[in-house]
């Protein structure tokens, strides 16, 4: 922000470099990792789990920057502020990933989400953007306040803020299933349910996604969702671990609803962004499923492993999907993907990328998505629990339904007849976007063909519970 306007371009470069550099300490930490390091009286921890998630968040932000460059250049937007807000949101996410007490996690969540309120309304002149922003904002604040209320109850009950102490106190006093704890659990779940946009707290997502600038939408649907999930995982497993049986059931219902409803509505969409919004809602349902079941079975480690694996793969393929939507809607100048007929002929590369991302979302081997879905099914059936199996069946059916609308996009761009109006348009595929595309596609493929790389997550999540 201190830089003069003419040199705004450097801001982008600077932000990119900054994020890259911020990876360095992570690597060092990883290399020099021995045991979890605790700071600020156990309210802040550095363990492999947090390191991995931090790495994920930073990468996502990095890619988002790459996505943003051209968007920002394209119009008179505040650049510095844009990057600044994104970075602060990133900071929030980083905090969440290693926070271990109510205050820190609350600050993290707020820090992560507040900037997004502004970014989602970044297109000042655009009414849709404003509208999305206000909806996002109001629900966001409400959710925050609910979370707070839940926290306050917890504090009142235990007098502690640090998770480990709270949970030990709850267990000691065998209050794990007392109504107050449950109430606070409900409030927390609802509050975070808003961030991860699960039914019935999803309603803001499609509108906000549609209104917000595309890079921001991508970030919303990936990073803040991830943040929300991390927060949820930490809270549920560190604080409410005792009352798993209660919230487990609830989450099962929620995730089942989320998958189904998201899919069914997505079938109806002709706006690619809204389609992705609903698809990401149903994906959230899939991510939620293992946690839910782990609540019932108590095998948190497996549940976390599955969810986080899904989260990571989902993050990259979804970014890729947004990238392709960005490309094609810029090319066709239409937010109705039925008008993209035959666009892939213009740029086969973009076409192939799009196909890969969307079919990966649909979970077709050998693309990453299949392994994500696979681990989820695995932990669902592994529970050997009738509820889990039922949820698995629901998931399987949804996976098939989802195929219909995911395939629809690549059907349009490859199989439909080219629209005459699009003929003379030129297909823009700038280099930064190419970088994003190649990077995400690589990860999508690698995670599909050599899913072995995720195996260490198991060990990681075990450490996560070691303390």
């Amino acid at each position: 922000m201190i830089l003069p306007r003419k040199s705004k371009y450097y801001v982008a470069a600077f932000a990119l470099l900054g994020t890259l550099f911020s990876l360095a300490p992570l690597v060092i930490q990883w290399a020099s990792y021995t045991t979890p390091i605790y700071a600020f009286e156990n309210s802040f921890v550095i363990d492999k789990f947090s390191i991995i998630l931090k790495g994920l968040f930073i990468l996502i932000t990095y890619l988002t920057f790459l996505l943003s460059i051209n968007f920002i250049e394209s119009d008179k937007y505040y650049q510095g502020e844009y990057y600044y807000l994104l970075l602060s949101s990133l900071l929030g996410a980083l905090i969440v990933s290693s926070s271990r007490d109510l205050l820190t996690i609350f600050i993290g969540i707020e820090l992560a989400s507040t900037p997004m309120f502004l970014l989602s309304g970044w297109k000042k002149g655009d009414r849709k953007s404003n509208e999305g922003a206000i909806k996002f904002f109001l629900l966001g604040v409400l959710s925050a306040s609910l979370i707070l209320y839940g926290f306050s109850l917890l504090y009142g009950l235990s007098g502690k803020l640090v998770f480990s102490e709270i949970s030990s106190y709850l267990l000691g006093a065998s209050l794990a299933n007392s109504p107050v704890v449950l109430l606070s659990a409900i409030l927390v779940i609802s509050g975070i349910g808003f961030k991860i946009s699960v039914v019935p707290f999803h309603s803001w997502a499609p509108d906000t996604y549609e209104g917000a600038p595309l890079p921001v939408t991508a970030y919303l649907s990936v990073s803040s969702k991830a943040t929300g999930f991390v927060a949820l995982i930490i809270l549920l497993t560190k604080v409410f671990a005792g009352s798993g049986s209660s919230w487990g059931i609830i989450l099962v219902i929620i995730s089942g609803l989320t998958m189904t409803l998201g899919n069914l509505v997505a079938l109806q969409q002709n706006n690619p962004v809204r389609l992705l919004a609903y698809s990401s809602i149903s994906q959230a349902g899939f991510i939620l499923a293992p946690i839910a079941i782990s609540g019932i079975t108590g095998d948190y480690q497996d549940g976390i492993f599955a969810s986080v694996t899904y989260l990571i793969i989902y993050a990259f393929m979804n970014l890729g999907a947004f990238l392709s939507v960005h490309l094609f809607s810029n090319y066709a100048g239409s937010t109705n993907f039925y008008e993209w007929g035959g666009a892939a002929r213009k740029s086969p590369l973009a076409g192939v990328l799009t196909t890969i991302f969307f079919f990966s979302l649909a979970g077709i081997p050998p693309l990453g998505g299949w392994f994500a879905k696979f681990v989820v099914f695995r932990s669902l059936l592994g529970s050997a629990n009738s509820i889990g199996i039922a949820l698995g069946v629901v998931g399987a059916i949804n996976a098939v339904i989802a195929l219909v609308y995911y395939a629809r996009i690549s059907k349009v761009i490859w199989m439909d007849e080219p629209k005459s109006i699009n003929e003379e348009k030129i297909f823009q595929f700038e280099n930064p976007l190419k970088v994003v595309g190649v990077f995400t596609v690589l990860i999508t493929f690698v995670s599909g063909i050599f899913p072995g790389i995720f195996s260490y997550l198991g060990e990681v999540s075990s450490i996560f519970f070691g303390n």
């Binding site: 409400l142 309603s203 069914l264 079938l267």
Partner: protein
């Protein structure tokens, strides 16, 4: 005064050699035609005679080889079989191979001889016809397939030959496939046979699975030695095999395809009716005879019943035909009825003997008819007549054939038919015996009718008929020699070589074989034949000229004539001949065309109708609709669901808090 002696060949007592090199290389008989077919297909167009020469040489070799085998067999009985394993499946060995014994050698010889002559005949007959080369390809294949069938030591190979014969007949009957009728006739032949083949297939399956082998000799051995193994299924299997035989050997009610098969060129009909196709069924029954005799005597009665029905029904139909080839066709059916009935009555030798003689004189008759048609350019006897003068050779040979068929001594048919009658008589099947005699009478009658309509009287056609080319008449003459002499190989009391030929085989044949003439059967058969000819001659010559023969009887009431002189005749005419000649036979004809034909034709239509019903109402609108409905259904549901998304912020908030409340309530209830 008639004395019989059982001729029993048990394995031990058989006097036979292994046939040496001649038997070892008998596979040439089977393989050569297929090689030839390939050669003709690829090189035929460039050869001077358009491939005919290849076919002729091949079939010539086959003829010589089979003759050599025959000689060897007559001098020192040959029994041997060879197997080639072409794969094992489970416990089964799938084997091809070739069997060399009396039965098969007799068939080789018949096929070789008839085929050779027919081929020679065809080179001239088919001259200038379209697809000349292809015709010879399929004709060679036809002979080859028949050899596959008769040479087979395993049921699986029998099945293969069986179907190959069917396909070749399909190709040949449909030779002029530009006309839809012809291709339909071809289809009809194929489908009818296929229906029968289902029986054969299942029969084979049952036999194979209950005996654990596909080798015929083993199965027959078990059926004579290991009663329990087969006894339960024997009857069913026997009947099913017979169903297969009914198809190929055109037994009532599956004979309908044979008359239509006349759509093919005449040489094909000759080959098909004399040697190659229709004899297959009889051959199968003969091959499996020990099994029938030992395990399923009841089945034999069924066989006999159908045989008798066939011979009568077909004979009656033949009387009313105006198409020369059709007359012969129905006569074939009826003669096959004789053979099958003979097998049914347990007269193994008699049946094969009739097959043997019939092959020659029926080939002769068909080729004769062919040469007539070739010169008259019409099948209808109403457009013939008076050809005696213009086509002397054809006429002479045709007459020989007719007499042979009618069964007058010393022509071939006489001996074989007499043996069948004798065996009926001996078995005490009085009814069947008399039906058979009646059949003989009818045969003689319609043949006489055919002769008089064709050759006697005045010419009624338009073209200028002429005697056929030597290439066509030579075979006729050759065949007529056989038609006369082929019966002399099995004269009871004089020389019964044929019996020894066909009973010299690996498996015991238990049958009763007349040691000397059964004079009663002989006389009745002879009488019937003579009567038939006499009556025919009477009606179509004495009662008036050939051309108006039929009309006379129909139009001008004969009772007036009889009133003058022959009340008896009048009575006969009034109450016997007219009904039989017009009503009953017409009725049988009607039944044939209207009921059975319609069924077979209708089969396709019904099936396709059902097909369309199933397809349109169930497949497309049933399963698919369900599927599409479900997909659109989900869409619509999604349409409903998305209405939650009103876009009104406050309702979102409401939804949000509503969610919270619901969850709390849920928890309240669940925990």
């Amino acid at each position: 005064m008639v004395n019989f002696k059982p001729t029993v060949f048990a394995e031990g007592e058989l006097v036979y050699t292994d046939g040496g090199i001649l038997a070892e290389y008998a596979w040439l008989l089977v393989v050569l035609p297929f090689v030839a077919a390939l050669v003709i297909t690829f090189t035929g167009k460039y050869l001077p005679l358009k491939g005919a020469e290849v076919a002729l040489t091949t079939i010539g070799i086959i003829f010589l080889y089979s003759a050599a085998l025959m000689y060897l067999h007559i001098t020192s009985g040959v029994v041997n079989e060879f197997f080639i394993n072409v794969g094992s499946i489970g416990v089964f060995d799938i084997e091809f191979g070739w069997v060399v014994d009396g039965l098969s050698i007799m068939m080789y010889f018949v096929v070789g001889t008839v085929a050779l002559l027919v081929f020679i005949y065809a080179t001239n007959y088919m001259e200038g016809e379209i697809r000349y080369t292809f015709f010879f390809t399929s004709l060679t294949l036809f002979a080859g397939s028949m050899l596959v069938l008769v040479s087979s030591p395993t049921l699986i190979q029998i099945l293969i030959g069986w179907e190959l014969v069917g396909v070749c007949s399909y190709l040949l009957i449909g030779h002029y496939w530009e006309k839809k009728d012809n291709s339909s006739a071809a289809m009809k032949a194929f489908i009818t046979n296929k229906i029968a083949d289902v029986g054969l297939m299942i029969g084979i399956i049952i036999l194979a699975l209950n005996t654990g082998t596909l080798r015929i000799s083993k199965i027959l051995y078990q059926s004579t030695h290991d009663y329990e193994k087969l006894s339960t299924v024997a009857f069913v299997a026997a009947i099913l095999l017979f169903v297969g035989a009914m198809g190929k050997s055109a037994q009532f009610p599956l004979h309908v395809w044979l008359p239509d098969a006349m759509a093919g060129p005449t040489p094909v009909s000759a080959l098909m009716h004399a040697a190659t196709m229709v004899t297959a069924g009889v051959y199968l029954l003969a091959r499996m005879f020990p099994f029938y005799k030992a395990m399923a005597p009841d089945a034999l009665d069924v066989v006999m019943l159908f045989g008798v029905i066939t011979l009568l029904a077909a004979g009656l139909i033949a009387v009313v035909q105006d198409d020369l080839k059709k007359v012969l066709a129905y006569s074939t059916v009826s003669q096959l009825g004789y053979m099958v009935a003979a097998i049914g009555s347990g007269a193994y030798t008699a049946a094969l003997f009739h097959l043997w003689t019939h092959a020659f004189f029926k080939a002769l008759l068909f080729l004769g008819a062919g040469s007539v048609i070739h010169s008259v350019h019409s099948n209808s006897m109403l457009e013939m007549g008076g050809l005696r003068k213009v086509m002397p050779k054809t006429f002479a040979t045709f007459i020989i054939g007719t007499i042979a068929l009618a069964g007058l001594p010393p022509f071939a048919g006489f001996f074989s038919k007499d043996e069948i009658l004798a065996s009926f008589n001996h078995e005490g099947e009085t009814t069947f015996f008399f039906i058979a005699v009646l059949g003989a009478f009818i045969t003689a009658f319609y043949m006489t009718r055919a002769v008089s309509l064709t050759f006697l009287g005045e010419y009624r056609g338009h073209g200028h008929p002429h005697e056929s080319h030597n290439l066509m008449t030579t075979p006729l003459l050759t065949l007529s020699v056989f038609a006369i002499a082929s019966g002399w190989v099995n004269i009871p009391g004089v020389y019964t070589g044929f019996t020894d030929w066909v009973t010299t085989r690996k498996n015991k044949i238990v049958e009763y074989h007349p040691e000397s003439f059964d004079l009663f059967a002989l006389s009745s058969g002879l009488l019937a034949g003579l009567l038939g000819i006499a009556l025919g001659y009477y009606l179509y010559q004495l009662q008036g000229s050939a051309e108006t023969g039929d009309n006379k009887i129909k139009i001008q009431p004969i009772w007036s004539v009889l009133e003058n002189k022959y009340y008896l005749d009048h009575f006969y005419f009034k109450f016997v001949i007219d009904p039989v000649k017009i009503n009953i036979s017409k009725a049988v004809d009607k039944f044939n065309t209207n009921v059975i034909d319609r069924f077979v034709n209708g089969f396709g239509q019904v099936a396709s109708l059902m097909g369309s019903v199933v397809y349109n109402n169930f497949d497309q609108n049933g399963i698919d609709k369900l599927l599409n409905m479900s997909s659109t259904g989900t869409d619509n549901f999604g349409g409903k669901v998305k209405l939650l998304q009103t876009g009104k912020t406050q309702q979102y908030l409401m939804l949000f808090l509503g969610g919270v409340v619901t969850i709390s309530l849920l928890i309240l209830f669940i925990t």
